[in-house]
Symmetry: none
Subunit: 260 residues, 2 copies
Amino acid sequence: MGIDNRSRIFERGLEILGLIANKRAGVTVDELCEEIRLHRTSVYRYLGALVREGYVDRKNGKYVLGTKVLELASLFLERLDVRETAHPLLVELAEKLHATVHLAQLAGPEIIYIDKIETHRSLPLYSRIGKKAPAYCTALGKALLAFIPPERLQLILRQMTFKPYTDRTVTDPGRFFEELQEVKRTGYAVDKGEHEEGIFCVAAPIFDFYGEPVASVSVTDLMRNSLDKENRYVKEVTRTAWQISFALGSKRRTHLDGGR
Amino acid sequence: MGIDNRSRIFERGLEILGLIANKRAGVTVDELCEEIRLHRTSVYRYLGALVREGYVDRKNGKYVLGTKVLELASLFLERLDVRETAHPLLVELAEKLHATVHLAQLAGPEIIYIDKIETHRSLPLYSRIGKKAPAYCTALGKALLAFIPPERLQLILRQMTFKPYTDRTVTDPGRFFEELQEVKRTGYAVDKGEHEEGIFCVAAPIFDFYGEPVASVSVTDLMRNSLDKENRYVKEVTRTAWQISFALGSKRRTHLDGGR
DNA sequence: TCCCATGTTGCGAAAAACGCTACAACAAAG
DNA sequence: CTTTGTTGTAGCGTTTTTCGCAACATGGGA
């Protein structure tokens, strides 16, 4: 952490950019002079650089943010990989709960695991990074399906065949759809041995900058668990999912918010 | 047009920010030194300011864009009333045509996407909000260039380099100018695989209260389409553009009316 | 251990910014 | 039609800041 005050001019320039950003209606040169206590001439020179580089535009004699900031933000988002962002938080979650944690994306009517964190106590499971599993009988899948746009959901439902993996697997489309509504309402999904016998999962969706569900995170344990433990899983998984969403720049405040 | 080279330091700082933005994997101090031919010490001081203000973060010893750029971009988008006004109408258009819809602004000789609506059937495209594309080979760009004041057009034309993206890209300035006249006459622009191979676009300009073209709206599809479908796209896109213009208080009755 | 890459600090020479004045272009007011 | 005010440029002496050098930490990896 370099606490080096020695690039004052550049810092002041950035400060001016920040000031302009925070005035939605635009700002005049004199207002800027007032705020940073500089001579008009000097402010013009900062503005010249900002305008030349595209960070600031002139609109009806006032200065407003330019398109360059959008361009940078797009590059910032491009670099943001859900997996990279999520990983440390997933490790933290796995360690806190002493259980296996998964990260998955939708791939048609299936999910694909894109990350997996095991702890010393974790169970031998079917999953592996890159492996696929059906979406309709996994918590990870349901957490995602519940939040995608209705048209896309319909499309995916049509591609699905509800094959029973265990005697708890939901195979009735109507009942499945109802379950998704419940997931949408509560913000998390569960799987009680619907895919693998005796395996219990809780999952929550992760939203990106645009409010779109891009991945989901889950914790896995044996089914013979107390209600207390189950509640703790729900709480921690949703918390982690929310943290990841936040790190991705999501604007959602709760799972009930609409996208965008 | 302030041609005042006198804020070199600030400008150089912004240049450094731009360099960092364009390296997705992050950049080291020495790489930056190389690029701008400055001593390592100085670069550190610029970076110090950028990190302090949140424009840049350190990630594994490399420097990458920070969250501040996202923050500014969201403020930028918030200020755009075109976008807010247009959004519901764009969604409607996308649903009606089952195709991807874009909203863009001019940014010098390029366009920048400020909104994008996808449907379940939409194509995987290169675009993203905040991303830029050349104006001369996109329908969105041509729809805007055709309606800006001649002096401004001349200025922008001088900044353009006509690089061929596909073998259909128009690279002759004279022919391009003629095409703009045609766009001005008909009120809409098309792009038949001039930017992305096999991609077809129709765009129409949006005018604000003062009759100035402030944005354009487009619909995108594959090129293998019937003339009927093409005509439908033209009709619907221009209709939506007019609705948005109207909502912005545009006084134009047709695209042939003069501005102001 | 030494080495090399990475990051921090002190200081003088050199360069840039600051802010003064002056001035042009334009609009609104008198 | 002049006056007054606003907005943006330009030149230049003075003052402040930066630049780049060298020296100095730090902290792995061969």
